[in-house]
């Protein structure tokens, strides 16, 4: 068992466990913390796939940024409602059946797919290539993204501002 395989199994276990915790825990705040764990685990999966830059982005932008926003939202709503928000679930069985069905459907593809190609050797670090792609062929997309973020920011501001 290589180091990579061992790492994969560990990360997979952590990711699945934290994901399940996100959707099952009754405490919303805990769910957010479990989501942070799941996001970090995802970042580690990126690392295992030789993408350290994406790992960094995942940690910085996603795990930290999203977490901050969600925590703020929870605290804000809790403050407004004046009580702790607990969350309950509904129709657990139906949800489980449908989710399992979708998983089985995808798994069917994976089983019937042609045997996966062997992992090619890493040619070079992907980060410089990624950087070049962002300012080269994807420059316009990149800028549009920046625009989108600004619009999202303004939108969020508009929605969240108190009246008058």
């Amino acid at each position: 068992m290589t180091l990579e395989a061992a790492g994969f199994w560990v990360v997979a276990a952590v990711l699945l466990a934290s994901s399940l915790a996100v959707v099952l825990t009754p405490n919303l705040f805990h769910a957010v913390l479990y989501l942070a764990a799941a996001l970090v685990a995802t970042g580690v999966v990126f690392l295992l796939l030789d993408s350290p830059f994406l790992f960094a982005v995942q940690l910085l932008l996603y795990a930290v940024g999203v977490m901050t926003i969600v925590v703020f939202a929870i605290m804000l709503t809790e403050r407004l409602v004046g009580e702790r928000i607990t969350q309950t679930s509904r129709d657990l069985l139906n949800g489980a059946v449908v989710a399992t069905g979708v998983f089985v459907g995808i798994a069917g593809f994976l089983i019937r797919a042609s045997p996966s190609p062997p992992r090619p050797p890493l040619v070079a670090d992907t980060t410089p290539a990624l950087g070049r792609a962002l300012v080269g062929p994807f420059a316009v997309t990149f800028e549009l993204l920046a625009l989108l973020l600004v619009v999202a920011l303004l939108g969020a501001l508009y929605f969240a501002r108190t009246d008058e």
Partner: protein, 99 residues
């Protein structure tokens, strides 16, 4: 590890996220489920990029992450507005569009 392993992992996370979206009563909880599903998609993209030696998957992931952040920000802002107006974030009670 083979590509199939990574894809299976992603599929499992996706299914869990879907389960969360379907079952959570709290709007914020539903958003968390959506985050999980998007993450699963990102894993798929990166895995394909690595195993096929294609940079495109990584670029796409980067964009997805950024867009997701925007989506979360807006989604939560909407949740807060809904909360202000309806005094609840329970998805079951947000049924103004009932036919």
């Amino acid at each position: 590890m083979s590509l199939t392993a990574y894809l299976t992992l992603a599929a499992l996370v996706f299914a869990i996220g879907l389960f969360g979206v379907l079952t959570r009563r709290n709007a914020i909880g539903i958003l968390l489920g959506i985050e999980l599903m998007l993450n699963a998609v990102n894993i798929n993209l990166v895995a394909f990029a690595r195993f096929h030696g294609d940079l495109l998957g990584l670029v796409f992931t980067l964009f997805t992450i950024a867009i997701t952040v925007a989506e979360v920000a807006l989604g939560l802002a909407i949740v807060i507005v809904i909360f202000r107006v309806r005094r609840t974030v329970e998805a079951d009670r947000l049924d103004l569009l009932r036919g």
